[in-house]
Symmetry: C2
Subunit: 297 residues, 2 copies
C-alpha cells in the first residue's frame, strides 16, 4: 500500500497538465479536494471521487499538502494572496507546492508569507509537457527548505521521473528559466531551419531525417518539426504561455545585471506571432509567423 494512502491533498488548476498530475496523486491513494477556474474541466476528477471546493482557501483548509498549477503570475498571486486564497486556508505546518512556471521572486514572496504563518511553500515547476504529465515522467525542479521538500518528495514522485531539489525558494523557478532559455534557442533554430529547408525546394522530410540523425538532434526536431511538416499547429505548449515564461526570464536576467540577446530576440518574435493570431497555437507556429514576415514573395 502506498505511503500516501489516505493523505488529504488539495489540487488547484486541473487543466491539460494539472488533471493528469492530480490523477496520479489519487492513484497513489491521496484523498483530493480540487478547484479550477472553469469547473467543467474538473469533472473527470470529480467523477473519480475528488471533492469540489469553491475557493482556493476552502481547498487548503483541511489539506496537508496543496498543489497549484495555474497560468500566469497574476493568477498565482490571486490564488495565493487573495482573501479566499490558499494562504488564508493553509494550516500550520502544512505545505503549498506551486508547480506553475512563474517568477522566482514571486516564489520567494509566497514562501516567506507561508513561513510567517507557520506553514510552508515550495516551488516545483515542471518540464515534459502534457505527455510527461500523463505518463508521470515529468522533470520537476524544486526550490524550498529541506523539511517541506523532503515531505513532498513522495507526492512529486507520483507525477515525475526526475525530481531535483535545486536550493531554497525560487531555485526551482530559476532552473525552469534555464530550461526555457534553452528551449527558446532550440525553437528559433528549428523554425529557421525548416524555413530554409522549405525555401530550397528539397524534400523537407528527408532533410529532417538527415539532420535528426546528427548532432543537431533535439526534441524540437524529433517531436515538434514533424508537426510543422503536417501543418498541425495545435498546442502541446501555447505561444502565450511561452511568452510569459520568456518575459519572466528576461525580467530576472535584468534584475541580475545580465543581458540575454538571443532570448530577447526570440521573445520579440513570439510576440509578433501572438499579434498575428497564434497566441493560443503551439509554440511551433513561430514557423508560420516567420514565414509571414521574413520570406520575400
Amino acid at each position: 500500500m502506498s505511503t500516501l494512502q489516505g493523505t488529504r491533498i488539495g489540487f488547484i488548476g486541473t487543466g491539460i497538465m494539472g488533471a493528469p498530475m492530480c490523477g496520479h496523486l489519487m492513484d497513489a491513494g491521496c484523498v483530493a479536494t480540487i478547484h479550477n477556474r472553469t469547473r467543467s474541466k474538473a469533472e473527470p476528477l470529480l467523477a473519480r471521487g475528488a471533492a469540489w471546493a469553491d475557493t482556493p482557501r476552502a481547498v487548503a483548509q483541511g489539506a496537508d499538502v496543496v498543489f497549484t498549477i495555474l497560468g500566469f503570475p497574476k493568477d498565482v498571486r490571486e490564488v495565493y494572496f487573495g482573501a479566499d486564497g490558499v494562504l488564508a486556508g493553509l494550516g500550520k505546518d502544512c505545505i503549498a507546492v506551486d508547480m506553475t512556471t512563474t517568477s522566482p521572486s514571486l516564489s520567494v514572496e509566497i514562501a516567506a508569507a507561508a513561513r510567517k504563518q507557520g506553514s510552508w511553500a515550495v516551488d516545483g515547476p515542471v518540464s515534459g509537457g502534457d505527455i510527461g504529465a500523463q505518463k508521470g515522467t515529468l522533470s520537476i525542479m524544486v526550490g524550498g527548505d529541506d523539511e517541506p521538500v523532503g515531505r513532498v518528495r513522495p507526492f512529486l514522485e507520483t507525477m515525475g521521473a526526475h525530481i531535483e531539489h535545486l536550493g531554497v525558494a525560487g531555485a526551482g523557478q530559476h532552473t525552469k528559466m534555464c530550461n526555457q532559455i534553452v528551449i527558446a534557442g532550440s525553437m528559433i533554430g528549428m523554425c529557421e531551419s525548416m524555413l530554409y529547408a522549405a525555401r530550397t525546394g528539397l524534400d523537407r522530410a528527408a532533410i529532417l531525417a538527415a539532420i535528426t540523425a546528427g548532432t543537431a538532434r533535439c526534441r524540437s526536431l524529433e517531436a515538434v518539426a514533424p508537426r510543422i511538416l503536417k501543418e498541425d499547429f495545435t498546442p502541446g505548449f501555447m505561444v502565450d504561455h511561452f511568452i510569459k515564461d520568456m518575459g519572466i526570464a528576461l525580467d530576472e536576467s535584468r534584475r541580475m545585471g545580465l543581458d540575454l540577446p538571443g532570448l530577447a530576440l526570440v521573445e520579440r518574435l513570439y510576440r509578433v506571432a501572438s499579434k498575428l493570431g497564434h497566441g493560443r497555437d503551439g509554440t511551433h507556429s513561430l514557423f508560420l509567423a516567420l514565414q509571414e514576415i521574413l520570406v520575400e514573395r
Copy 2:
C-alpha cells in the same frame, strides 16, 4: 572480403576529421593516395601504407574516387579548380566527393565542371564531429546525380551510419546548412542558459542535470555544457569554422529571399567571440564571450 578491396581512392585533407575517415576507407581495403597542406598530419596514414602525392591533381590521377574534406570555401575552390587541382587530374567517369561544409552554389559549380569533362562530383558534408569520424558513425548528407551517388555509397558507408541522398548537387550542402541553423539556435540557448545559471549562484551542475532530464535535452546540453562547467574550451568544433558555416547559410538565405534573424544574431555574436580571441577555441567559448560583454560587474 569487402567489395571495396583494392579500389584506388584519393583523399585530400587528413586533419581531425579526414584522418579517421580515410582510415576507415583503408580498413575496408581501399588503396589510398593522400595529400594534406601540412604533410606531418598525414604521417600516421602514410605509416599505415597510404601513398603520398604532392598535389591534388596527382592524387586524382589514377584514383577512381577522390574524397576531400577541407577548411574554407576558398580552399575548396583552389583544391578543385587550381592548375594542380582535382579536376585537372580526375579521369573520365571518375568521381570526386567533397565532404567539406561549403557553399551549395560552389558544389553546383564543381559538379557542372566535372560533368563537362566527363567525370562526376558529389557533395557529402557530414555531422557528428571528431567522435563520429573516429567511430564511423557520421551522418552524411549527399547531393548529386543518382549514378555517382549510387557508386560512392559503399565508400560513404565505411565512414557514416546515416547516409541520406537529398537531391542533386548542392542538396547535401543545403541540408548541412539546415543542420547548422539548428545548432546555432541550440548553442545560443545553451550558453545564455548557463550564463543565467551562473548568475543565480545556484549549483550549475544540478541545474544542468535537471534540465537535461526534460524536454530541453540536446547535444549542446549533454555533451557541450559540461565542458563549460569544467572550463575546458578546447575545440570539438572551432569557432572560426562555425562562423564560416553560418556565413554561408546567411548568404544562401539572402539569395533565396529569406531573412533569418536568429541565425544573423548568433553569427554576429560568434564574430565577437572570434575578435575576443576565441577563433580557434571550441564553439562553446561563446559562453566566455557573452560573459565578457553581457554581464554587469
